[in-house]
Amino acid sequence: MDDYSYLNVRGRIFDIQRYSIHDGIGIRTIVFLKGCALRCRWCCNPESQSFEIETMTINGKPKTYGRDVTVKEVMQTVRRDMPYYSRSDGGLTLSGGESLLQPEFAEALLHAGKALGVNTALESMGFAKYETIEKLLPYLDTYLMDIKHMDPKKHEAWCGRENTLMLENAGRIARSGQTKLIIRVPVVPGFNDTEAELLSIARYADSLPGVEEIDILPYHNFGEGKYTGLGRDYPMGKAERPGMEKMEGFRAAIERATDLRCQIGG
């Protein structure tokens, strides 16, 4: 007898976004899981960081972020766009936060996605024990993994934790051959916006078996208003967004130095 108990797993999300067309193949629905292990200074979703349910002020009105739901409830929304997934090879994407902090919930969601027959993707830094990640892989088509920096100290200074575990996980996920791995790098002024730093990430990505693509995403300050809404200061101050020309330069350098396909934006 089939076991459908995964449909009753509960977890905490802060948003579900439909018709997302810039995060993976086809038309997708993104489920944002609440709670993150890192505190990246440039984070554009500060409401994703704390696991606690929070109130943000938007245009003068309070809005609650965070609600507890079962997989079944989430899937009721996800399945509504089935016709569009079928036509575009799209599907379900988990984002956060760091989904791996709610491992059972994430696994159950991906399981449900596969049961529905749609493409599944996960946007994550890989911050968990590999044993945790391993359980998700059978249900995962694409792993969109963030690698922000190769230097553990600098990583810790800007993100609150060092990167050893995540880099190691990237290697193990790649070697598992169970999912398509795409590396994503936010290009952040003052943190990693030099050719040398980006190339060291790209070379590492290139060394991973099966990795063919790296996406570089220019920093933006669109999250600034949310910090205000949460009563917090914006950590990035007046940092400037990297220009298109600069990004093009990085892209060309990466494609020269590695065998990877490099895309600006994801």
Binding site: R18, Y19, I21, R80, D81, P83, R87, S88, E224
Partner: protein, 843 residues
């Protein structure tokens, strides 16, 4: 048919020039046609109408000044000035005389008219007094119908004031058989009419009229041939001289004889398209499946090396320019309903052949490219989508959509074909459908669909449920009881159903009266000659000669009605937050938002009538003073607060367009109140009524005649357009919106549905975006949606969205690696996106 070649061809200098010349001046009204038809009618009094029509058509085509515009390859202009228009006093004229001094400065579709033209028109117009279709139609209507029209339940203005148009004719027969072929058919039929045939005289006169009309068009083409020859003689530029000589040869040959080349085929098409619109003032005369009937000539010419794809594209572009050279001046009210000088000449590409195979060919692509090249409102270009559509064609269509021109409109074969079959159309004919005007499915060359027969405002009967049939102080509709007498939601719905059915019956009365007026006064022999089975049956189109006959009036305001019913169901009867009487009062008081001038006038008129009923004298000053009082009237604070509170509660409710089954199911039911009763009614041509659900642009002016509605909509603001959710009420992005709309029963609205969607250019920038866009259309169509069109919104819209966020709550923009609802973003981010849009559009 060979495999298609989709390689795009560049636009030429000639096209840029032709477009610039076309728009150099404001469109102008000319008097020649009105004078010629009047002259002819004065001379033919006493003859049968159909004969007089044919003789008048001949007289017009003989006397109308002709012109070949600089650089044209396809010739034939109805007015001397580009984009000008003639007038059609035989249908109506008094509105134009009344608007002589305002037509140049009105907001919707202004036209220049010279003092000389006014004088010339004033001389001939009086002849038509008592002889127009509008006057006859009015005299044939029931008094209740006239009352309902006065109270704005519906407006059949379209055919009331104008010719019917709204057909697709056998362009293919003119191209491949020539008008001589059609004349021969009519002559043959004339031979066959038996002396003992009860309608011998009518048939004989009609068939003779067909022959006269066809010959008139041939002679008209010959005038162009002569003019081209004459101009060639004077031309010093050798290249242009050759072009003019070729035009002379072409016009001597077509449309009389079968076209020998693609170029001749296009010229033959054009003469038909142009003269149909000289014969009557009907708009939406639609070229239909142009890529299909032009293809054999294109294929032959390119195969045999006579025609390059480059020249073929330039010729197509020239035809597209000509389609914009025709124009029509409507009365001020209609102009608002059809804003944008549109003639709705719908031209459709792709889809299936009669035998159910994919119809995509080179010309399907080249037609879309022509629209990109000329970038003008005509033709209204459309694309048919089916399960076997070539993906390349859909992506090319998406590229056109991306430009923001609003074309093409996408149509779903998978619902339209069965919907047509359900109305008794054969499968071959249904597979061959084209679109007329805005969104109306139609059998090419075989149907008189009377599409667009009226605008029916579904919100007005809803208002009548709250007022017990009283409008503006008088009985305007059936009495369904006071609000307090309605005790359950079921009773409320029953009352609405009664209000709808009563007014739908009056709508049928109005349309049938107008139909009879056209049959009697405006049989059109040339149009009839080109539609089956008029010749074989010996009956003009207007008297039921077509193979298929329908009347298709369109309803609109579904979203408002659906959301209103949901309010009544949940807040009044389930949760008992307020009573129906209280809601009625809140609506009357416009939710405490104060009165605008229209309401003030209505209230004053109501008061004045009450006074007059008591036998008291009512002066203009008294009315003016009442208006002033009403405008400045303050409600008691507590009452005003309560109405606002009621509206707040209503606005909090889930709305149609958010993929919520319960609300969407009510919307489906709301649409049925309009679509279901119609097919039970018959028209005088032997066909049935069928509903459409689309508003053209009438949702704005007709919304201005509608009081506050229980969905929270304030008095006199626009009602929802077509089957689209109320603007600003759909909050969960395009897929949710599509799912809701797909939940309506589109097959029941076999006269067409219209779904408008706004998309930001940044969500259509990359190749992947276009592919996902196509998947969005396909996903909607997989759920049996019928039509979709897109507004790829520009910077201006975003600025407006920033100033009026309540109107744009559903607007999706691409932010960075994700898309978001524009109005939920911070001001600074909005500014940023607005700036980026500007760049995005000048790539």
């Amino acid at each position: 048919m060979r495999a298609f070649d989709s390689t795009p061809v560049k636009k030429t200098e000639r096209i840029t020039r032709l477009v610039a010349d076309l728009f150099a001046k404001m469109p102008e009204i000319e008097a020649a046609r009105a004078e010629l038809i009047t002259e002819s009618f004065k001379a033919t009094e006493g003859l049968p109408v159909v004969t007089r029509k044919a003789l008048a058509f001949r007289h017009i085509l003989k006397g109308l000044p002709i012109v070949i515009r600089p650089g044209e390859l396809i010739v034939g202009s109805t007015t001397l000035a580009p984009r000008g228009c003639q007038t059609y006093p035989e249908f109506s004229y008094d509105w134009l005389e009344a608007e002589f001094d305002t037509v140049e400065h009105r907001s919707a579709d202004p036209f220049y008219i010279s003092e000389e033209t006014k004088e010339r028109l004033k001389k001939v117009n009086p002849y038509w007094k008592g002889k127009t279709t509008s006057e006859l139609a009015r005299s044939l209507m029931a008094p209740e119908t006239l009352r309902a029209m006065d109270h704005n339940f519906f407006t059949p203005g379209n055919y009331y004031y104008n010719g019917v148009g709204h057909v697709n004719v056998h362009y293919d027969r003119v191209i491949y058989e020539g008008l001589s072929g059609i004349m021969a058919q009519a002559a043959g039929q004339l031979e066959k009419v038996k002396f003992c045939d009860p309608n011998y005289g009518d048939k004989k006169r009609f068939l003779e009229a067909v022959i006269i009309s066809c010959q008139a068009v041939i002679d008209y083409a010959h005038r162009y041939s002569e003019l081209a020859k004459e101009e060639a003689g004077k031309e010093t530029d050798q290249a242009r001289k050759q072009e003019l000589l070729r035009i002379a040869e072409t016009c001597a040959h077509v449309p009389e004889f079968p076209a020998r080349t693609f170029e001749e085929g296009l010229q033959a098409f054009w003469f038909v398209q142009q003269t149909l619109q000289i014969e009557s003032s009907g708009h939406s005369i639609s070229p239909g499946r142009f890529d299909q009937y032009m293809y054999p000539l294109y294929e032959k010419d390119t195969d045999e090396g006579r025609l390059t794809r480059e020249y073929a594209q330039e010729l197509l572009d020239c035809v597209w320019v000509k389609l914009n050279d025709l124009n029509k001046c409507r009365d001020a009210a209609s102009a608002e309903g059809f804003a944008g000088y549109s003639l709705f000449q719908n031209l459709i590409v792709g889809g299936q052949t009669k035998d159910g195979r994919d119809a995509t060919n080179d010309l399907s692509f080249m037609c879309l490219d022509a629209t990109k090249h000329v970038f003008l409102p005509q033709p209204s270009i459309s694309i048919r989508v089916w399960n076997g559509s070539a993906k390349e064609l859909l992506l090319r269509a998406a590229e056109v959509t991306r430009t923001g021109i609003g074309f093409p409109a996408y149509y779903n074969d998978e619902i339209i074909i069965p919907a047509m079959e359900n109305r008794g159309i054969s499968i071959e004919d249904a597979r061959n459908y084209c679109i007329i005007g805005c969104v109306e499915p139609h059998v090419p060359g075989k149907e008189d669909g009377w599409h667009d027969a009226a605008f029916f405002n579904m919100c007005r009967p809803l208002e009548m449920v709250f007022t017990n049939g009283i409008d503006n102080g008088e009985v305007a509709s059936i009495r369904t009881g006071d609000a307090e007498s309605i005790k359950t939601y079921e009773e409320f719905k029953a009352a609405y159903k009664k209000q709808m059915e009563y007014n739908i019956a009056l709508l049928v009365n109005a349309d049938n009266a107008i139909d009879r007026a056209h049959a009697e006064l405006a049989p059109l022999p040339f149009e009839s000659a080109l539609i089956d089975d008029c010749i074989t049956r010996g009956v003009p189109l207007q008297q039921g000669g077509a193979h298929y006959n329908f009347t298709g009036p369109q309803g609109f305001g579904i979203a408002n009605v659906a959301d209103s019913l949901y309010t009544v169901k949940t807040l009044v009867f389930e949760q008992k937050k307020f009573t129906l009487q209280e809601l009625a009062k809140a609506l009357q008081m416009n939710y405490g938002q104060g009165f605008d001038e229209i309401t003030a006038k209505e209230t004053a008129t109501q008061a004045a009538k009450a006074l007059a009923a008591e036998g008291r004298q009512v002066t203009d000053e008294m009315i003016a003073s009442v208006i002033r009082k009403v405008l400045t009237m303050e409600l008691p604070e507590a009452e005003r607060k309560r109405y606002e509170e009621i509206r707040e509660m209503i606005l909090e409710l889930p709305k149609f367009g958010n993929d919520i089954d319960e609300v969407d199911t009510i919307a489906r039911e709301a649409a049925y109140y309009y679509t279901k009763p119609l097919p039970a009614y018959r028209n005088p041509r032997g066909g049935i009524f069928q509903a459409g659900l689309y508003p053209v642009s009438a949702n704005v002016p007709l919304g201005a005649q509608t009081g506050a509605t229980p969905d929270g909509r304030l008095a006199h603001t626009p009602v929802a357009d077509g089957v689209s959710p109320t603007s600003g009420y759909d909050l969960h992005g395009p897929t949710a919106s599509c799912n809701s709309v797909a939940r309506l029963d589109h097959a029941e609205a076999s006269n067409g549905t219209l779904f408008n969607m706004k998309i930001h250019p940044t969500a259509m920038s990359t190749e992947k975006d276009l592919e996902d866009f196509v998947s969005l259309v396909r996903g909607y169509f997989d759920q049996k949606g019928m039509h979709m069109q897109f507004n790829v919104v520009d910077r201006q819209t975003l600025l407006d969205a920033q100033a009026h966020p309540e109107k744009y709550a559903g607007l999706v923009v691409r932010v960075a690696g994700y898309s978001a609802l524009f109005t939920t973003l911070s001001k600074s981010l909005q500014d940023d996106i607005i700036r980026r849009t500007e760049q995005g559009l000048h790539r």
